[in-house]
């Protein structure tokens, strides 16, 4: 495959077998500065920026702890994708559900999850609701945060379960929605089709958000799918498929908001694809040597936190000190989280058979 430079990209809608590498953005949605369509309240901007910054700071710290050998198990980071989960969760009501892996950490934090409790799981500590049974990568806490439990690492397997939660909402005539955040790789397994098919037939309130970050582990999307966009698959379900720039939190909110409204109106599921980039390896064990330098550079300029920060300091009129205050608060928060998490108790070996079955 030819890796074209971004300057050489053809116009949107050009022939499919042109030199355009889908890992670079289509010029139709590409941008290096962002702004909302309409004014956004200052406290909203602050909470979104804070969630994204908190996630980035957490991940930087997590990577360091991993290299120091202080973390149990493998580490998977969502660096560069923070705008998507933040934008999605910012639109949910308290009784809506969503699911992500830890690449959507910013969404967990925006929802109110304490960084200490996430860090504690990476340390293998005894904290509810998992009590040391599951990796830091996964979080499920329905009563606490509306974060739904899911399966193994296959991110396709929670499309059927998303349909099932949505089925329960509809069964009980509740105006709730389920947002399933998943990845480009998850659109290959059958579960993706089976779940969306079922949801579309029954017009269930499911919103599937695909973070297309260019790679499934090391395999580029060109070897995962014969279509240029994941959203191109939407017509198979007779549902809307939309494509946006996932590093622009305002765009994320605009597209997902429409999908959530549709779901809440009882009109069924939507497929929303966001182009983004996984700025680190699949896991921290992965040096991502398979990613061309120019692709990394392209996306570094479009880092979601950088874009939001530049908007805050530009169009939103914040001072450097105001942004720096949030950065400093996040840094202190994460330092404290690590300290507190390390001090949490380990699960007791005699608890190992507890709760295999519900009462």
């Amino acid at each position: 495959m030819t890796i074209g430079s971004p300057d050489a990209l053809p116009a949107a809608g050009a022939a499919a077998d042109d030199v355009c590498d889908p890992r670079f953005l289509d010029p139709a949605i590409d941008r290096t500065s962002i702004a909302p369509d309409e004014p956004v309240a200052r406290e909203d901007l602050a909470s979104w920026y804070r969630a994204m910054r908190l996630a980035r700071t957490f991940e930087d710290k997590l990577a360091a702890l991993y290299r120091q050998g202080r973390i149990v198990g493998a580490v998977y980071l969502g660096t560069g994708q923070e705008a998507i989960a933040t934008g999605v969760v910012s639109l949910l009501r308290r009784d809506d559900y969503f699911s992500t892996v830890a690449r959507g950490l910013s969404g967990w934090f925006l929802r109110g999850v304490e960084p200490r409790d996430v860090m504690g799981r990476w340390f293998g500590k005894d904290i509810p609701p998992s009590h040391g049974r599951d990796l830091g990568l996964f979080l499920a806490d329905l009563p606490g945060y509306g974060i739904a439990p899911y399966h193994n690492g296959s991110m396709a397997s929670w499309i059927p379960s998303g349909a099932g939660f949505a089925l329960a909402f509809k069964y009980r005539k509740q105006p709730r929605v389920y947002a399933a955040l998943t990845g480009d790789g998850a659109t290959s397994p059958g579960d993706f089709y089976e779940g969306l098919n079922f949801a579309a037939i029954h017009k269930l309130p499911l919103v599937v958000i695909v973070e297309n970050n260019c790679y499934g582990y090391s395999t580029p999307t060109s070897l995962q799918m014969p279509v240029k966009n994941v959203a191109d698959r939407a017509p198979a379900f007779n549902i809307p498929g939309t494509i946006g720039f996932g590093n622009d939190i305002f765009e994320v909110r605009r597209l997902v908001s429409a999908a959530i409204d549709r779901a809440r109106r009882g009109e069924g599921p939507s497929l929303v694809e966001f182009k983004t980039f996984r700025r680190r390896g699949h896991g921290e064990h992965d040096d991502m040597g398979y990613v061309p330098r120019e692709l990394r550079d392209f996306w570094e300029r479009r880092d979601p936190i950088r874009l939001l920060r530049e908007y805050l300091l530009g169009g939103a009129g914040w001072t450097a000190g105001e942004v720096a205050a949030i950065d400093a608060e996040c840094a202190a928060h994460i330092d404290r989280a690590v300290e507190e998490a390390a001090a949490l108790p380990d699960p007791k070996p005699e608890s190992v058979e507890w709760r295999l079955f519900a009462e």
Binding site: P149, Y150, N197, I201
Partner: protein
């Protein structure tokens, strides 16, 4: 009232749906058609399309959906058209349903009904007994009724249980086995075996369709002076170990009879438990009678060669008794 095994399953479903508005059914062709075996005939008319849901042919999809609906508090009962097709939903069952409570503390009150077993010329994909695929996975309960009474009581207990329960109903029993079953509400608790025939000379541990073949063999042996105790496990998980261990301690001889393939079948686990926990009581090796380790073939002469039956059980029992 005297009803068939099939009618007992149908009654249990109808009773539970009338009793609890959170019980709903998902499966292929279960609504207007009433299911491939007519278990849910008339259900669409009584309960409506919202509670009797015809699914697309996509087991993984509707099983995943059912698990999530269960986590949200509904009590879905999923019908696999044939237990063989449960393979298509394996991941959702073993990685989602089975582990959710252990991982996150979320109960998953879902029932998977699998019409299983051979003996009616269904061939390799409509005759299997896949219980051992699931007894190996912590977090799943596995039920295998042999009589109309047990079929009704165990299904009601399964629906009321807060855990994923796989309920294997043997197709060959559907219309062949009938008995008087109370109309009123009763359950057969999960994890309690049943002595289907008392005896002092040999313990036969079995479940599902093989209960009837074992009883036929025991009847023949009785005429020859040997009294077999036939223990129907009824549920494999949780397992009522004491039922057969205490029996073996009295009879000193044990056989395990199951219709699934011999190697790695659940009966192997039962045999191992007996060998380990009742070794001192044994006067003969624990013997298994099960299907040959080949796919269940179609042609009658071949299928009969593969499946265990009363005659094969009888001959194995004679060997154990004469050991």
């Amino acid at each position: 009232m005297v009803i068939t095994y099939l009618e007992a399953i149908s009654q249990a479903l109808r009773d539970e749906m009338r009793r609890d508005g959170d019980v709903l059914l998902l499966g292929e062709d279960i609504a207007a058609f009433g299911g491939a075996f007519k278990i849910t005939r008339g259900f669409l008319e009584e309960f409506g399309a919202g509670r009797v849901i015809d699914t697309p042919i996509s087991e993984s999809g509707f099983v995943g959906a059912a698990c999530a609906a269960a986590i949200e508090g509904l009590r879905p009962v999923v019908e696999f058209q044939f237990a063989d097709f449960i393979a298509c939903a394996f991941d959702q069952i073993v990685n989602y349903a089975a582990k959710a409570c252990y991982r996150w503390g979320t109960p998953v009150p879902v029932v998977f009904r699998g019409p299983s077993g051979g003996g009616f010329r269904g061939g390799p994909f409509h005759s299997q007994n896949p219980e051992a695929w699931f007894t190996h996975v912590p977090g799943l309960k596995v039920v295998q009724p042999s009589t109309p009474y047990d079929a009704k009581g165990l299904l009601k207990a399964a629906i009321r249980d807060n855990n994923p329960v796989i309920y294997f109903e043997h197709k060959h029993l559907y219309r062949r086995i009938r008995e008087d079953v109370p109309d009123d509400d009763f359950i057969v608790p999960l994890g309690v075996a049943d002595v289907k025939r008392p005896g002092r000379d040999l313990t036969i541990v079995t479940y599902g369709a093989m209960v009837h073949e074992s009883l036929a063999a025991a009847e023949r042996l009785s005429k020859e002076g040997a009294e077999c105790e036939v223990i129907d496990l009824r549920t494999l998980v949780p397992l009522d170990k004491e039922s057969f261990l205490s029996s073996v301690r009295r009879t000193s001889r044990a056989m395990v009879v199951y219709e699934a393939h011999l190697t790695g079948g659940f009966g192997a686990e039962v045999a191992a438990i007996i060998a380990q926990e009742a070794f001192d009581a044994l006067d003969a090796p624990v013997t298994r009678v099960a299907s040959l380790d080949v796919p269940v073939p179609f042609a009658p002469a071949l299928e009969d060669a593969v499946l265990p039956n009363a005659d094969k059980i009888y001959r194995a029992a004679v060997d154990v008794l004469e050991y």
